[in-house]
Amino acid sequence: MKLLTYKISLLFLMALLLNSARSSDLNTDRKRLRGKVIDVNTKEVLIGATVYVQELKTGTATDINGMFMLKLTEGKYTLKISYIGYKSSIETIDIGDNISQTFSLENESREIGDVVVKAQRTDENITRTEMGVERIKMQTMRQIPALMGEVDVIKAIQLLPGVQATAEGSSGFSVRGGNFDQNLILVDEAPIYNASHLMGFFSVFNNDAVNDIELYKGDIPVAYGGRLSSLLDVSIKEGNDQLWHATGGLGTISSRLTIQGPLWKNKTSVLLAGRRSYADIVFFPFSKQQAVRDATLFFYDINAKIKHKFNSKNTLILNGYIGQDKFGQKFAEFSFGNKTASAIWKHTYNENVITNVTGIYSEYGYTTYSSFTEASSINLVSRLRDFGIKVDNTIILDDQNTIKFGLSSIHHRFFPGLIEPKGEESFYSRTELPHNSALEWGVYGSNIQELGDKLTLRYGVRFSIFQNVGPGTLYNFDDEYNVVDSSEYKMGDVYNVYQGMEPRVGLVYKLNPLSSIKTSYARTRQYVHMASNSAGGTPLDVWIASNPNIKPQIADQVATGYFRNFLGNQIETSVELYYKNMMNTIDFKDHAQLLLNKHIDGEFRIGRSWAYGAEFMVRLNMEKWNGWVSYTLSKTKREIPEINNGNIYIAPYDRPNDVSIVLNYNIAKRITISANWVYATGSPMTIPAGNYSTDNVQVPVYTARNGYRMPAYHRLDLGVTLKNKQKEGRIWESEWNFSAYNAYARHNVWAINFVPEEDNPSQLFAEKTYLFSIVPSITYNFKF
């Protein structure tokens, strides 16, 4: 595989050197239409406006500068230019030579930019060179019936083909058989290390603040690295630089408010979004139990964004996020949360050369204290922190070549655990697990090259380097995972280096304007890993850096697919086949101790895993209907010498059949009805075949890891959204959302335990635990 990697890298370099001369000779009989789409009143450029050539049934979309380019043969064409929140414009244009033109759109209503979709071609499903990319429009997502009415980005992601929830109610997700720590989750370029609130029932993303989400299922752009399975790229709205307005919602669990507007019209915009749950404020005070009245249980998060446009070539964007969960009692409390910040400077040299420089900060940590008695009072703190910088350049070399290159560097600092006595009476001594640091570097280059009308190539390579840097302590283990000795490293010592090429290539062959075939190969490497042996992850999980004991995880994924659009791109269909081979797959020894264990490296067990499958997707982008129907057929297995007696076993997130139907229907101008139906093969689990008695309890005996499947999971969710009447001049707009999660009240298995019979404790019976029956909810959303 290593040889293949280097061969592909070499091919990439050769192609990069040879392509420009050849490509410039192509398509010389066609003329270029360069266009710009702006707001007729404010003259602001409109990013992501679609431009559709009616005669050719094809189109494009404007880029971040509001620009687009079409190559057309001589003749007259009718362009339909559209943008959400604006009246569509029909323009007739006569192509005789290369021309440039500006198109103006008129704002349809007072509202601007509730939903801003990134630059996206109408036929992107056909033309996009990356495979396994999923995008959910926020407008669609907000109509999906949700648990307790809380529309959630990650819960919506879990409905996509190839994506599995790690457990019901969890914010963890597995992409194409990968572990839930193999997903790079970025919010405006800053990584999020734990994306869950309230033990995973909600994610950290406030849907009012989210502008756009994209999920790359393995074929990750070379600009990104560090995770094996996927990239979930979440961007927060940039704020309106023309008008002040607010959106919000009152829900059964939490409420939210987002305010955005211009600090300096046309120059500086600001967005501030906040959310808080309030069970402890609304419900707990009325409890009869003092303990409940004293309890704390809430989460909050705040997103902030400031964008300042210095001039037409320089823009600075500052992003911030802080979120926290807190629950506990007078004498015990647990809190955890993320803090992220990023500063992005966008410099446009000219319309063809753009540089982004990004500074990144991310921190995840938890704190817990317990003071049941003065003698046992204790604080426990764990934290990890990233500082990073990233430079990304885009050069539109010519009509056929778009080159991207850049570099990134992240400094990881891990503070796995600090135990502190609380108060003078505490008998605990201060104990701190050794800190560790690492540097992760990435250099990349890629080109998207059009070879004629039908063939587009994307080829690139990322070279990543990972360095363990002192100060740090490394424990050395023998073959039986016993600690032999330890090594101490001073500040600045580089005591271990991993590095490797990550080639990523793709090919799109357009069969006709409405269909294409694609194929891709991607290698990804992961250098930091979550130490968690639970199925869904907990806030107590710690992240561990690769080191001489823990090799980086490496994945090679090949995929191919057929893509076909119907009804003028209103219906997108696709079939994707993939095979993924994962090396140095991580599992943990039986009954691993992952918390506060300074010898945690010895708990890791390393092997290999592989996944393959087929994903079928039908997506509707129609005026009345939107949503999707998907089916995934897949298999994921693992082989780790010390687990399951070295025999191959089914991976934890293997669910061979997975169906998602997500449909929203605009039944009338003010009424939308929505329904989800999901079906998945039951999760694999290990069940006991027998038992014996020890220390007066019954202990199970297992035969094979993941040798049993839970009953199939299926669920129907229903929702209806009623918008209030819009009146001329009325500022306040609102809607009611009524939903029923698990509408037919299926008792889906969450856990199975084997419980002693009351009259004969040595006899066990199976008891299933389910989390939800039908869960109705009402949410009131507003904007003004």
Binding site: A167, D294, A295, F327, A332, F334, T368, S370, F372, T373, A375, S376, F427, Y428, S429, T431, N533, S534, G536, T538, D590, H591, Q593, L595, T686, I687, P688, A689, G690, N691, Y692, S693, T694, D695, V697, Q698, V699, P700, V701, Y702, A704, R705, P711, H747, V749, A751, I752, N753, F754, N760, S762, Q763, L764, F765, A766, E767, K768, T769, Y770, L771
Partner: protein, 293 residues
């Protein structure tokens, strides 16, 4: 360890609060039969027991004892033959005056059994070293209350020095010479990560929960803390056993796995050899006099 348990309980509280359970039918695969060993040896002078049974299918009602085995324990110098109890089938006893000694290595041998019923007798062996002796300075008993779980009772606290090397402890509670913490669920066990090499200045080691009838204490009751200095292997066995015998949920639990064993040839269970020491205190209830008046 204590903090870990508290956090886990808090989590479980949140989840269990919202979940429901119901019985379901599962037909597990056939299980080969294994020898299950439940053997204990301490420094106390008494008849120590080795209990031999077979593993059984989970739905079966009876755990079959393994009778007529030859069971010996050797301390490297002398080998002792255990005799099967007349009243408890499958329970083998040392002589009444037997006591293990700290620092010695003990070998348990089980022969003359055919658990898998293939017509050929099997033999099993286990080796365990008794950890060194400890000194327990004193034990105190104090009332405690935990409002969040609506429980109250009495804490048993210990005053002892933890040696500088890594140590593992098991705590059991007695009331008036009756062992109260007589199941794994009631044990308390820990490593010394929080107090390594320190004086355990009144650490809570066990408790009596007044919501359980057999744990209710009265004024004048003599309560005893049994401190057991255990091996790392037994500590890991206890972690494995409590993990597998407790409620499992995908959010918190690792994958199920067989509990580690120190018996050879595929047998399950454990041969535990540990040093034990006890300390007592008398319950004094301040309100007694007022109540009497």
């Amino acid at each position: 360890m204590l903090t870990r348990i508290y956090i886990a309980v808090l989590f479980a509280f949140m989840v269990v609060f919202n979940s429901c359970s119901e019985r379901m039918d599962i037909n597990p695969s056939e299980l080969a039969v294994y020898l299950a060993v439940d053997a204990t040896l301490t420094n106390e002078v008494k008849a120590h027991t080795v209990k031999l049974t077979q593993t059984k299918l989970i739905m079966d009602t009876v755990i079959p004892p393994v009778q007529y085995a030859t069971v010996t324990i050797s301390d490297g110098e002398r080998e002792t033959l255990l005799t099967e109890s007349d009243t408890l089938p499958g329970v083998y006893l040392t002589p009444d005056n037997y006591a293990a000694e700290p620092g010695k290595v003990y070998t348990l041998r089980i022969t003359n059994v055919d658990v898998n019923k293939d017509g050929v007798n099997e033999s099993y062996e286990s080796v365990a070293e008794m950890p060194k002796a400890l000194k327990l300075d004193s034990v105190t008993v104090e009332p405690f209350i935990m409002e969040v779980f609506d429980i109250k009772g009495w804490s048993l606290k210990c005053w002892a020095y933890d040696p500088p090397e890594e140590n593992f402890y098991l705590f059991k509670a007695w009331k008036n010479d009756t062992l109260v913490s007589d199941t794994l669920y009631e044990y308390n066990f820990t490593d010394d990560v929080f107090f390594n090499g320190q004086y355990t200045n009144g650490i809570e080691c066990q408790r009596f929960d007044e919501s359980k009838p057999r744990e209710v204490v009265r004024d004048g009751d003599v309560v005893t803390l049994e401190l057991c200095h255990i091996s790392e292997e037994y500590f890991e066995f206890l972690i494995g056993a409590i993990t597998e015998a407790s409620f499992k949920a995908p959010m918190f639990s690792g994958p199920p796995a067989n509990v580690p064993s120190n018996i050879s040839d595929g047998a399950v269970g454990f041969f535990r050899v540990y040093y034990t020491i006890k300390g007592s205190d008398t319950v004094y209830i301040e309100h007694k006099e007022e109540t009497d008046k």
